[in-house]
């Protein structure tokens, strides 16, 4: 009787433990993935400011007034050549379409 109860308790505990572990693993993956996205967006920060918040009146066009959608439209236009520019048409061509989506989502006005 006691053995049976203990076995169930252990199994239950292990199950809870495992599901906790797997949900933790998923949470970790989400956190890691978020870190990768922040890292990618940080490649823009040298010219457009940390987290897209550029120096006001610093001389560089500000991007933090754009929504993610507007930003993605501009990035795609730079990449395709539809929009002219100095450096941006050259840099936009270095990112995959998926990376441009990530950047726009990270830096667009919330």
């Amino acid at each position: 009787m006691l053995a049976k109860y203990l076995k169930r308790a252990i199994l239950a505990a292990l199950y809870i433990g495992f599901s906790h572990w797997s949900s933790t693993a998923i949470a970790q993956n989400a956190e890691a993935s978020n870190l990768y996205k922040r890292g990618l967006a940080a490649t823009c920060a040298n010219c457009h400011g940390t987290d897209g918040k550029g120096v006001v009146d610093g001389g560089m066009p500000l991007i933090n007034n754009l929504t993610s959608e507007q930003m993605l439209t501009q990035l795609k236009a730079f990449k395709s050549g539809a929009r002219e520019g100095t450096i941006m048409p050259q840099l936009a061509k270095g990112y995959s379409d998926e990376q441009l989506v990530t950047i726009a989502n990270q830096l667009g006005k919330k």
Binding site: A3, L6, I10, A13, L14, I16, G17, F18, H20, W21, T24, A27, Q28, N29, E31, A32, L35, Y36, R38, G39, L40, A42, T43, C44, A45, N46, C47, H48, G49, T50, G54, V55, G58, G59, M60, P61, T86, I87, Q90, L91, A92, K93, G94, Y95, Q99
Partner: protein, 424 residues
């Protein structure tokens, strides 16, 4: 195994599973992270270690200088259109806004086995991870007589922005009209590939207005201009006709300070009035001393996915000190980008996560061809996992079609933003 032991083991396993994430997080919070050098690489690494850890990592920055002085744009100080004050930023925000401990000192040695750093003041600090971003060493012995000539103040390098930059401007301003300003360039790789050519423009811009009979002589050890070549040559011909003489494949081997004579490997000796001789360069002194410079004894090989030294675990090397990947310049912008990849990798490692398998770097470099007009070179570098290196993306990047004042405005925009991104 008896029942009691089985229960005990199971409970332990459960505890281990439940505690796993908390344990990894505790590693990030408990770790001692040191950053050596507060230039474009080190300052950015310190700040982004805090940002990427949501301000939980303990970060200490060790830097001997009281303020940050930008090397990019310092050729404008040589030319006289700007002052050092225009290029100087405080380190205060790193401590006040970002909670980074700043120690104003230099590092005497690193003990990679004991994982300690000894400061010049004698204090020893323990580390779990150390970021080494010491810039470059000028190999004064690569040009015979240069070390002494420099001590005597006859020659100047001004390749690390600071008082020497101002001193070089003064030498140029004191030169007789009709004199020669000679700048020599070592074989690549060296810090800031377009820098010497930009400097030639800045000196010529000053001489054109103030001492129009004078000349700028560029003695380049390389086969040709190493960056923005067509653009610089066009500017020299159109804006400074007859004033800038460019001599490729001219390798300087010695200098005679008394007679201000430059000796070349192949060609005849050259005399000049101002001698700005750039010797060969290597990784920063502390990197070389620690045995990290395992590429020809000059540069540090790193694993590009996280910028960890291939010579020592838990030592991450950034910026000009590393042996670069294909088409990766030694620039301040690039050092800032290295720093972000390394900071994210360190946070991931200490959190028990996989390091980002696909990091990206960009480079942007503006050169002033006079005091207003600018040309750029830009590139994007993606990590190629199969080759464990960064490669520029085909079809991306490039240079300006021509100098423009618009890019002159963007160059200052770049400066204000990268200073804020690294230090603000």
């Amino acid at each position: 195994m008896d029942r009691r032991h089985f229960i005990g083991h199971s409970a332990a396993a459960l505890g281990l599973l439940a505690g796993f994430s908390g344990h990894a997080r505790a590693n990030l919070q408990k770790a001692e992270i040191l950053v050596i050098g507060g230039g474009y690489g080190g300052a950015t690494a310190a700040k982004y270690l805090r940002l990427f850890s949501n301000n939980t990592a303990k970060v200490t920055l060790i830097e001997p200088n009281p303020t940050f002085i930008s090397c990019p744009l310092s050729n404008l100080v040589v030319g006289g259109s700007r002052t050092l004050a225009d290029l100087t930023s405080s380190y205060d925000n790193l401590s006040k806004r970002h909670g980074i401990k700043i120690i104003k000192d230099s590092v005497a040695s690193i003990d990679a086995d004991k994982k300690t750093v000894k400061l010049a003041s004698g204090k020893t600090l323990r580390y779990d991870k150390v970021v080494v971003s010491p810039g470059i060493t000028l190999m004064m012995n690569s040009i015979e007589g240069l070390a002494q000539a420099n001590k005597d103040g006859v020659t100047l390098q001004a390749w690390k922005a600071g008082p020497e930059t101002v001193a070089l401007h003064k030498q140029m301003a004191a030169m007789r009209d009709g004199g020669t300003f000679a700048i020599s360039i070592p074989e690549a790789p060296y810090r800031c590939p377009p820098g010497p050519y930009e400097r030639a423009c800045q000196v010529a811009n000053y001489l054109k207005q103030n001492k129009p009979k004078s000349k700028v002589l560029i003695l380049d050890a390389n086969q040709d201009v190493t960056s923005k070549g067509a653009l610089f040559k066009k500017v020299w011909a159109e804006q400074y006709p007859g004033m800038i003489e460019y001599l490729p494949k001219h390798n300087v081997t010695a200098v005679d300070a008394k007679t201000k004579t430059i000796k070349l490997e192949i060609q005849d000796d050259v005399k000049a009035d101002v001698l700005n001789l750039l010797p060969a360069m290597s990784a920063g002194e502390i990197a070389v001393k620690t045995g990290l410079a395992n590429s020809n004894g000059r540069w540090v090989n790193v694993n590009f996915i996280n910028f960890e030294s291939t010579a020592q675990k838990d030592i991450y090397v950034l910026g000009d000190s590393i042996q670069v990947a294909n088409a990766m310049p030694k620039s301040g912008h690039m050092a800032n980008q290295h720093a972000k990849v390394a900071a994210a990798a360190i946070v991931a490692e200490l959190s028990g996560w996989e390091v980002n398998p696909a990091p990206v770097l960009t480079n942007t470099c503006y050169s002033f061809v006079n005091d207003r007009e600018v040309v750029h070179v830009a590139s994007v570098h993606q990590y190629i996992a199969a080759e464990k290196t960064f490669k520029p993306v085909p079809g991306s990047g490039g240079v300006s079609p021509a100098p423009s004042t618009l890019e002159g405005v963007y160059a200052w925009g770049w400066a204000h933003n990268i200073w804020a991104d690294s230090l603000g």
